[in-house]
């Protein structure tokens, strides 16, 4: 029966499902944008509500019959007035005492009211807990008036807890999530709410140099695995009150927090709303950092081209934010994901902006040529040697023929053999630790290449082709795009082997068409070239800074202008003076 239905499914026509595709159209005027800007943060409450309902924490609690409230506890996941009930719920939720990371400390506030705190060992700063929470709360303090219940909570928040950040919370879903992220929760008898005290203090790596986006001129800071630090690194660069960070929990089980950063008043609110909509709609157990999240929210997950740009540099993230884009930083990953992006953004680096515009432009052109070499050179070599001998100058053709005279393999096998060996060396070099890895890469390539030529397995020209291809792929600044190019290269080799330049042209046609159909959060992938829009003079050729007066048109930012009419006032003054002199 299932076989029959499979066959029927294959043969019979079905209406395609309707997809709600997000498009960033050029429509609304600036004033409407401003209104939407104000509304941009509004959906966060709805989002949180949705997230709350997805977490499933309370579904589990309520499912257990022994946890039925005795008195005072409501069924919608709120903190009750009875401390023992709260304690029981917390113990159940955090699997205490099986879970030995959880610490629950019961005590009396000012030696009168019953209370307990709960935190995760290792994620908190013990000095804060000992000196600024427990010592303050447990000391008899007749000068501070303290009632009970809500009054006591007010008193604690206003007078006793000398910690920089405290919040009141009644929802268990939120309390559990915050405790798991390193906050300390304080429950008090008869209060009906809990105090969340900022006490995060887990070990983290120091801010260090970038590993994959190294540059010569410019800042040398990179993101680390801590979300707060990463946000601070960006904030350190953009000291603007309108730089907004919204925190969203993702992942049903691991509750990974991801921060959405954007500049209110510059970013298109539709982009932020769409981004939040996509993140909130994700229903998975675990988000393993930005890599997983990117795949879950990108427009075309089957494409080889990345539609979200991942960077480990805070300065680059800040530049994108200033350009009107939004960034997503996941807790636990040293990368920021930027949306929306175009194909040309993949060839930009921070260094382009630190260098003079001519040098930056030159570097970009070099990178584009490198990408073309990495993508097409092996395929072209195959096409040339198999189909288009007439194009090779006679002397070169003779030396090529001589080199290939005693080779046992056809060109296609020869090139695939070497390409796969090169990929092996590259992968092995990364997996082997430290200096050995680098040595393995270099020695492996040299020895293997030399040995293959000596053994008469491949021609020396091929080694040159493979080496230049490898160099080309290393010169592509975006890691994801470089991966796409590495994979596509094999397809072009096969295209070249099947039909020479015709096959490669057909491959370019199909790849190009597919790439042109891509969109990154509603923005066409090849903007501003196809479709043609105003580029902001920073696509391939980077014009001098004072000429980049507007932000790219295709992002539809709320504020299009980046600079004043006279960017370099001193030039204008000089010109004015010259005019006056001429007038005299």
């Amino acid at each position: 029966m299932s076989l029959l239905s499979t066959v029927l499914n294959l043969l019979l026509y079905k209406e395609p499902p309707k997809y709600d595709r997000f498009e960033l159209l050029e429509d609304e005027p600036e004033d409407k944008d401003q209104k939407e800007n104000e509304d941009a943060a509004q959906p966060i409450t709805e989002i949180k509500t949705k997230v709350k309902s997805r977490t499933g924490i309370f579904k589990r609690t309520q499912a257990k019959p022994e946890q039925e409230p005795e008195q005072g506890q409501n069924r919608d996941g709120k903190v009750t007035k009875k401390l023992s009930t709260n304690l029981e719920i917390i113990k159940n939720e955090l699997n205490f005492p099986t879970n030995q990371d959880v610490v629950i400390r019961e005590f009396k506030i000012m030696q009168k009211s019953d209370a307990f705190i709960v935190y995760i060992d290792g994620m908190v700063d013990k000095t804060t807990i000992n000196d600024y929470i427990l010592r303050q709360l447990m000391a008899p303090n007749p000068s501070k008036t303290a009632g009970s219940g809500k009054d006591l909570i007010d008193c604690l928040v206003n007078n006793l807890l000398s910690v920089n950040q405290v919040t009141r919370q009644t929802e268990y879903g939120q309390i559990i999530k915050q405790v798991l992220s390193g906050l300390t929760a304080l429950f008090v008898e008869d209060a009906g709410e809990c105090i969340l005290i900022e006490s995060r203090g887990f070990d983290k790596r120091n801010v260090s140099n970038p590993l994959t986006e190294t540059i010569i001129k410019g800042p040398h800071e990179a993101f680390i695995e801590n979300l707060r630090t990463n946000i601070t690194l960006v904030r350190k660069i953009i000291r603007n009150k309108d730089l907004v960070t919204e925190l969203l929990p993702t992942g049903k089980t691991d509750n990974t927090i991801c921060g959405i950063m954007y500049i209110k008043g510059i970013v298109n609110p539709k982009v932020v709303r769409e981004l939040k909509r996509r993140i909130v709609s994700i229903d998975v157990d675990q988000i393993q950092g930005d890599g997983t999240l990117d795949q879950l929210i990108e427009d075309h997950p089957f494409s080889l081209f990345p539609q979200i740009l991942s960077t480990e540099r805070p300065d680059r993230t800040a530049y994108f934010l200033m350009e009107g884009k939004a960034a997503i930083i996941c807790d636990g990953t040293p990368y920021a994901s930027v949306i929306p992006v175009t194909f040309f953004d993949m060839f930009h680096t921070s260094e382009d902006y630190a260098l003079r515009w001519q040098y930056g432009t030159f570097l970009r052109i070099v990178r584009m040529i490198a990408a073309c070499i990495a993508l097409f050179l092996p395929g072209m070599y195959v096409a040339l040697t198999l189909y288009h001998h007439e194009m090779i100058p006679t002397e070169l053709l003779v030396s090529l023929a001589k080199a290939r005279e005693h080779l046992p393999f056809p060109t296609i096998i020869e090139i695939l053999l070497m390409e796969i060996s090169f990929e092996l060396i590259r992968e092995a070099g990364i997996r082997v630790p430290g200096v050995i890895g680098q040595t393995l890469g270099i020695i492996g390539a040299i020895i293997l290449g030399q040995a293959a030529v000596t053994a008469g397995l491949v021609s020396p020209v091929l080694i040159i082709v493979i080496s230049i291809t490898g160099l080309g792929s290393f010169a592509i600044p975006n890691f994801s795009l470089a991966f796409g190019v590495r994979i596509s290269r094999f397809i072009f080799i096969i295209c070249g082997a099947i039909a020479g330049f015709y096959g490669i042209a057909a491959g370019i046609f199909i790849f190009g068409g597919l790439a042109c159909s891509l969109k990154s959060f509603g923005v066409p992938y090849f903007s501003p070239v196809a479709p043609k829009t105003t580029s902001g003079h920073d696509t391939i050729v980077r014009m001098p800074p004072w000429m980049q007066k507007t932000r790219p048109d295709f992002i539809n930012t709320s504020d299009r202008t980046r600079m004043g009419k006279v960017v370099r006032g001193w030039v204008a003054r000089d010109e004015k003076e010259t005019d006056n002199d001429n007038g005299r």
Partner: protein, 364 residues
């Protein structure tokens, strides 16, 4: 679902230009020499002027029914049955045009580049490319055309400039060819060379409005006229009259003659990229317009099944021709009578709209 996005003015201009000017890579120039001698380079300008006049009728028709494409207009002006017939004829004409272009490409590439490769393989690869882009839709085709145009123009100009070493101004004489009357007559009759401008009427709803359609059509025709005229001029300047009639792919031949010392010679495989990609774009958009019209006249909401069927039909039809001579006969027929399909049908519709008082002006 058929939900085509909008395409910009520049995309539309380059799409039309590419669709029209891809002909210069094939046998059309040598056919022209057979008809009008060495006056082809300015005969094509006469054709362009005629095509501009024809396009004005199309524009007037679209202006009378703003926001509608030509299939809807045929339905409104001529009634459902006749409108269906007119749209159907246009669709078949476009399919036939795509078939002849691919067959022409197939034969020429077999002659010059892959003499041993079977027809089914060359056509198969071609149709796969066309199919992929048809599935992706108009937006992707237009964007890709816009992206490629820089490389194509560069490749085209490089061939023209590098070929200048072989130019001989004496080949332009006699300047009037077989006579001005013949040049004028063929110039008017062969206005269908610019017939792809009808695509603007087919995709009118995806363009940016009437004002832009006029601009796109006029600029598209003029740009194509310049490109075709330049290529014909360089062809006439390169080869003596008595050999021009026998060359199947003049641009390719011109590329083979380029020789600037030992290293810069035999650059025709590089020219292959320009040739193949521009022909692919051209035939893809023509095929897609056939699929589009077909879906519209049968009120079909999903174009994908028609893309599959259309491309299978295309593949089969391309393989059906007997030899290159047959294909060239088809091309000749299309050039001579194509204007009826692209310019006369809209003219009939416009006249009917006037008579039956249909359209915006009638209600004004």
């Amino acid at each position: 679902m058929i939900t085509e996005g909008k395409i910009g003015v520049r995309e539309a201009i380059w799409l039309v230009t590419l669709a029209i000017s891809a002909k210069m890579f094939f046998a059309s120039p040598s056919m022209l020499v057979g008809l009008v001698g060495n006056t082809g380079w300015y005969m094509t300008l006469i054709s362009a002027v005629t095509a501009l006049a024809g396009f004005m009728f199309i524009y007037l028709l679209l202006k009378r029914f703003p926001g509608r494409d030509i299939m809807e207009i045929f339905d409104i002006t001529l009634g459902r049955v006749l409108g269906f017939a007119f749209s159907g004829i246009l669709a078949i004409y476009l399919l036939f045009k795509a078939v002849t272009r691919i067959a022409e490409f197939n034969e020429v590439i077999k002659v010059y580049v892959f003499p041993l490769s079977p027809n089914w393989l060359i056509t198969g690869i071609y149709v796969i490319c066309v199919f992929t882009l048809c599935i992706l839709g108009l937006e992707s085709i237009a964007r890709f055309a816009k992206l490629l145009i820089y490389f194509m123009l560069a490749g085209f100009l490089v061939v023209l400039i590098l070929s200048s070493q072989n130019y001989n101004p004496n080949y332009l004489y006699p300047i009037l060819g077989y006579g001005l009357d013949k040049t004028l007559l063929h110039g008017v009759v062969r206005s269908s060379v610019y017939g792809e401008v009808i695509l603007l009427a087919v995709f009118a709803q995806s363009l940016q409005g009437l004002k832009h359609i006029k601009k796109e059509g006029v600029i598209g025709i003029l740009l194509s006229a310049v490109l075709i005229s330049l290529s014909l001029l360089s062809y006439i300047l390169t080869f003596p009259y008595y050999t021009e009639r026998d060359i199947t792919a003049p641009m390719y031949e011109m590329a083979t003659f380029i020789d600037y010392g030992r290293f810069l010679q035999r650059v025709e495989p590089i020219f292959l990229f320009v040739w193949i990609t521009s022909t692919l774009i051209s035939s893809t958009i023509v095929t897609y317009s056939f699929i589009w019209i077909y879906c519209r006249i049968f009120r079909m909401q999903d174009k994908k099944p028609i893309c599959i069927a259309g491309c299978i039909l295309l593949y089969a039809a391309v393989l059906m021709h007997k030899d290159i001579e047959t294909v060239l006969d088809y091309v000749q027929w299309l050039r001579n009578y194509g204007a009826i399909f692209v310019f006369i049908l809209p003219l009939v519709s416009l006249a009917t709209a006037f008579i039956r008082k249909k359209g915006a002006k009638a209600h004004a």
